[in-house]
């Protein structure tokens, strides 16, 4: 006889989460100590790195007593929280969509008496936890660094967890509400509608970024109060009193000034609004989750015929140096990639933003961009392209081995070795990323009318970044696979994905700093010594190029070691 389902489901799901967490930690403690140590070590390393950079920046600001430094720090915090909040909206939304509408667990729970809002709340907490991982690793060190430089009272540090927890509730609730409503009420071609919305949002962000660059340039020249105010004015949206990121900034700055009442009001605002929005989202879930699930299951099943594409032939030609079986594997990955719009549209949006930035800078250079600034801008382009590569490879290449998962036996039975499989994935990642990176940097450098030697150094730098990051992502993806997860976004923001992202960021900073840094330093030195900027061939000292072979050696190390480690791990796996 079935009992009444009128039970305390919150307690049931709380016990479930506690058991899952306890068992996962026990399992990691007994079977994966090396992995656990690597994960903790790299997270600490990344947090330490961010802390060091942030502390240095704040110290400089305080040492030279820059005018309106409080305003600048406030503006930077606004920008930081606004950007991280935006990223949290997107990442939580994607994870929650997959958890609520496509996961086997959701299908299972919806056939039980579990209430829709309770299932939603459980998945919400998991999604926010997953997506906030990077926020904590990146955000906390910056705030602690500011506290250590500004000499804040002790309760500033105690309030940090409360602020961060309160803040992540808001973007999580917004994105979950959006996910529920979009799935429930959007027309059948919702994928296209979502992509269109994403593209518009990305273009708006790009336009804002260009305005910001222009304002920064003006500030660097004038360095007066009006220019600083102009720069800060670019953050007007992030500084609106209605935006939660501004509440975060206000509260933390008040705590730093030892003004406890002024620090607690924004905290209360964050929590009350976060909880109110979460309650609204849970209420919405109670009403539309089950019908939304029904729509997600039956939506947009038009019959579509997939055929060969000329792009397949281009991809095949690009990896002509591989043997035929490995080339076939590369083509398989490429077809999977190009048939999933959520993958290539994101890449197209980010690539487009870099190009739009380049075109805007072309207009500037034609008018009044000083030669020295061209070098600064081109170095920023190299950095931006490297970060773009890091993000794209972490998102799309790192999960490749994990996603083979339980169907790995298909590859396991074909007459090629597991090392060949890894080499194929590496060739796929390296080829596409080299083409993308070199294309972007050549276009933007030529638009800036930089000398050939600078373009060449940039091209070699990005070659090292693209090849090294491809090796890291494929190798670490095989070394730390997650065969049980079918959602790539969860693989990316999980422990392995976070470690991979951190190592990738450290690697690109190292390579760009070593390879392109000396050239730009030499250019600046030439400007101040001679009054002229001359980087044509022999005019530059030899040390300006000394980092290039080191960067290439680093790329070789970043490729060989992870691929070997990943190959060993993959050979040891039994399917």
């Amino acid at each position: 006889m079935t009992d009444s389902p009128a039970t305390d489901q919150a307690a049931v799901f709380r016990r479930l989460r506690v058991r899952l967490l306890r068992n996962a930690l026990q399992s990691l403690g007994t079977n994966g100590r090396v992995k656990l140590a690597t994960l903790c070590g790299t997270s600490l390393l990344a947090a330490g790195f961010v802390f060091g950079i942030a502390r240095y920046g704040f110290q400089e600001l305080f040492r030279y007593n820059v005018p309106l430094k409080g305003l600048i720090v406030g503006g930077l915090f606004d920008l930081l929280f606004f950007t991280l909040g935006g990223m949290l909206v997107i990442s939580t939304g994607i994870i929650l969509y997959a958890s609520l509408f496509t996961s086997p667990e959701a299908r299972f729970l919806l056939t039980t008496p579990a209430r829709a809002d309770r299932v939603f709340a459980t998945k919400f907490q998991a999604a926010v936890g997953f997506s906030s991982w990077a926020f904590v690793v990146l955000g906390v060190p910056i705030l602690v660094a500011y506290g250590s430089v500004a000499g804040v009272p002790g309760y500033y540090y105690l309030l940090l967890p409360a602020y961060l927890l309160g803040f992540v509730l808001l973007p999580g609730s917004v994105s979950s509400l959006a996910a529920l409503l979009l799935v429930r009420f959007l027309p059948r071609n919702r994928k296209q509608a979502l992509l269109l919305l994403g593209a518009v949002a990305a273009l708006l962000a790009g336009a804002w970024g260009v305005r910001l660059v222009l304002s920064l340039r003006q500030t660097a020249r004038a360095a007066d109060k009006e220019a600083v105010a102009g720069l800060i004015g670019q953050f007007a949206l992030a500084q609106s009193s209605l935006v939660p990121s501004h509440w975060m900034t206000n509260g933390l700055m008040a705590a730093a000034r030892n003004d406890l009442p002024a620090a607690l009001v924004p905290l209360a605002l964050l929590w009350s609004n976060g909880l109110a929005l979460f309650t609204l989202a849970a209420w919405g879930a109670k009403r539309v989750y089950r019908t939304g699930f029904d729509r997600a299951t039956d939506g947009g099943r038009g019959k579509k015929t997939f055929r060969h594409s000329p792009l397949d032939r281009v991809m095949s030609a690009l990896v002509f140096y591989l043997d035929r079986p490995t080339r076939v594997l590369v083509l398989k990955d490429f077809r999977t990639f190009r048939r999933d719009p959520t993958q290539w549209v994101l890449l197209a949006i980010f690539g487009g933003m870099v190009l739009i930035g380049g075109l805007q800078l072309r207009n500037i250079s034609q008018s009044d961009l000083a030669t020295l600034e061209k070098y600064a801008v081109s170095l920023a382009n190299v950095g931006a392209t490297s970060v773009l590569l890091c993000a794209v490879l972490s998102r799309f290449v790192f999960p490749l081995i994990s996603l083979e998962g339980r169907k790995f036996w298909i590859l396991g039975l074909v007459p090629i070795s597991r090392n060949q499989i890894l080499r194929g994935k590496f060739a796929f990642a390296a080829t596409l990323s080299v083409v993308l990176a070199e294309g972007l940097i050549l276009i933007s450098d030529l638009l800036l009318e930089l000398p050939a030697v600078v373009v060449l150094v940039h091209a070699v730098t990005l070659l090292a970044v693209a090849v090294g990051l491809s090796g890291l992502n494929v190798g670490l993806g095989a070394y730390m696979p997650n065969f049980r997860e079918t959602d790539p976004s969860k693989i990316v923001v999980g422990f392995g994905g976070t470690v991979n992202m951190m190592i990738g960021l450290c690697y690109l900073v190292l390579v760009v700093g070593i390879s392109a840094g000396p050239l730009h330093a030499a250019a600046v030195a030439a400007k101040y010594q001679t009054g002229q900027l001359s980087v044509e061939g022999s005019a530059l000292p030899l040390w300006a190029f000394a980092g290039v072979p080191v960067a290439l050696a680093l790329a070789a190390v970043a490729t060989v070691i992870p691929l070997r480690a990943g190959g060993r791990a993959l050979r040891a796996v039994e399917f």
Binding site: T2, V12, N23, L110, T291, F293, R301
Partner: protein
């Protein structure tokens, strides 16, 4: 126990189930047959309340699954073709979670846990994490969880896939015993021998339409054939 009244379910332009009317009384073992893509799993999901009909009414134990879904689902247990288990729970913890979720009294939950562990021979592995289970172990654990709260209706989608002959034999005895004790069993399968051996009535679905429904004798009459269920199935589904 199950009432489907003129039910249609569409996936966009594709109609998966069309004007299906079917009644399964309490204590009946009903087998649902049909080629791949016939609409069997969609019908099962409609009965479980996982999907909602585009048109028509689905009732379980008298409760409409759209308007009184919680009441209806409390009566049902569903064993899908690809069962779900939390990888980082032990079998015992998973069973306890199910007992809690269905609001079982702690004493009764304890007794039922001991019963199903014995019934499905889970002793050897019930305290291991389910991530280490073989397919057969998973299937037995899922059946144990499905019967833990003593449902009024058990729905099983391809329950014998991946089971060894002994387990299949035990499952057949179990399903028959359940029906004898008044539990309605709704079974979807491609294994015609099992349907022929166990089912009180058989429904044959093709391209979303119920082509035949009744006892083996009824189906023989409809197909004008004295053959076994395989012959009848092919004759009915291949008829123009």
């Amino acid at each position: 126990m199950i009432e489907l009244i003129d039910v249609t379910k569409s996936y966009g332009p594709k109609v998966a189930v069309q004007n299906l009317t079917l009644t399964v009384p309490p204590g009946e073992l009903f087998a649902f047959l049909g080629p791949n893509g016939a609409g069997k799993t969609t019908t099962i999901k409609l009965v479980c309340g996982l999907l909602f009909p585009t048109a028509g009414t689905v009732r379980v134990g008298g409760f409409d699954v759209v308007t009184h879904g919680d009441r209806a689902r409390a009566l049902v247990s569903y064993v899908p073709d690809q069962p779900f288990l939390y990888e980082k729970l032990t079998g015992r913890e998973f069973l306890q979670f199910i007992a809690d979720l269905y609001g079982m009294d702690p004493g009764r939950a304890r007794d039922r846990l001991a019963t199903v562990i014995q019934q499905f021979h889970l002793h050897e592995f019930v305290d291991d994490l389910t991530e280490r289970y073989s397919h057969g172990m998973r299937q037995r654990t899922v059946f144990a969880s499905a019967l833990l709260h003593e449902p009024k209706l058990l729905i099983a989608d391809e329950p014998t896939v991946g089971l060894d002959p002994k387990s299949v034999r035990e499952l057949k005895i179990l399903l028959r015993d359940l029906a004898r004790t008044g539990v309605t069993v709704f079974l979807s399968t491609h294994t015609l021998d099992i349907a022929q051996e166990l089912a009180d009535r058989i429904g044959i679905l093709d391209r979303g339409r119920l082509l035949g429904c009744g006892t083996l004798a009824d189906l023989r009459k409809q197909a004008a054939s004295d053959g076994n269920l395989e012959d009848l199935f092919l004759k009915i589904t291949e008829a123009p």
